[in-house]
């Protein structure tokens, strides 16, 4: 055999060896990719399976929470009045007055009284029960009309003979706004002057 033929055979063998080496290596790499994709698919399938009921459950939770918000907003507005309700919520959550109540669009335009600066939190309902509520606990003009630490005892003392069956509606207390008997100076933030 001529030398040129031997060299050609050697060259072809080298080319085939390179083909085999690289193609086999590529096959192994592709098998790893396939295994990784199988794992990824199983994980994604788990995500899909586990998240399937989430939408319905969250929708139900939101629906119930919406009903609760509607209930509490309506009750607050009904019992405290729109202005005081907005003021109370704004006192508990500063800045909430701008957002207003969801079911009462007109609440966004109400100028909220500064209830949070005058009352301790949670005393608005007590204030509506009578003048003896501890509404003036932070009043700069004097002490509270009754001791807020023993509010329930004082409340029971209001009716020593038992609560009347049909009490007359009590006048709203305290009076808030420009027509109130006691005026406080204008607030620095431009809010209306609170008064008790």
């Amino acid at each position: 055999m001529p030398a040129a033929g031997v060299v050609m055979i050697v060259a072809v063998v080298l080319i085939i060896a390179a083909l085999v080496y690289y193609l086999v290596s590529t096959i192994f790499a592709l098998r790893k990719i396939t295994k990784g994709l199988d794992d990824a698919i199983s994980g994604v399938a788990g995500i899909i399976e586990k998240s399937a009921p989430v939408n319905d459950v969250v929708t139900t939770i939101n629906k119930n929470l919406d009903a609760g918000v509607d209930l509490l907003e309506g009750l607050l507005v009904k019992k405290a009045g729109m202005a005081d309700a907005v003021g109370l919520v704004d006192g508990l959550y500063p800045g909430a007055a701008a957002q207003g109540f969801r079911n009462f669009p007109e609440s966004r335009t109400i100028r909220a009284p500064r209830i949070g600066e005058i009352y301790t939190k949670g005393t608005l309902t007590l204030a509506r029960l009578g003048r003896e509520a501890p509404i003036a606990v932070k009043s700069p003009l004097g002490p509270a009309l009754r001791d807020p630490a023993y509010g329930s005892r004082s409340a029971r003392a209001l009716y020593p003979g038992g609560r009347p069956p049909a009490p007359e509606p009590l006048p709203r207390s305290p009076i808030i706004g420009t027509g109130s008997p006691v005026q406080y100076p204008e607030g620095g933030d431009g809010a209306d002057s609170g008064a008790v």
Partner: protein
């Protein structure tokens, strides 16, 4: 005879390097995909594990319903106890 040597030279100096270059490129591309796919797989499985607590949403749902029912009962009582706000206010 000379043409055979020229063909041998072309095989060894041109064809073989080109084949090796192309195959190495394919192999490197395939190998570079492997870690990415493994990361995707581990991330997907971690995400699936994170969603194991999604089943607790059913408990949350029940608790929300009970809470809203309690709030509704409490609100109903307050509606009876407290006077309504006056309209002129």
């Amino acid at each position: 005879m000379a043409l055979e040597w020229i063909g041998d030279g072309a095989l060894l100096l041109v064809v073989l390097p080109v084949v090796i270059y192309l195959l190495r490129g394919v192999l490197n591309a395939a190998k570079s995909i492997v870690p990415s796919v493994q990361q995707v797989a581990s991330t997907a499985q971690a995400g699936s594990r994170d969603l194991d607590s999604a089943a607790l949403l059913a408990t949350t749902q029940e608790q929300v319903i009970k809470t809203i029912e309690s709030a509704a009962n409490y609100g109903g009582s307050l509606d009876v106890i407290l006077d309504d706000a006056r309209l002129e206010e």
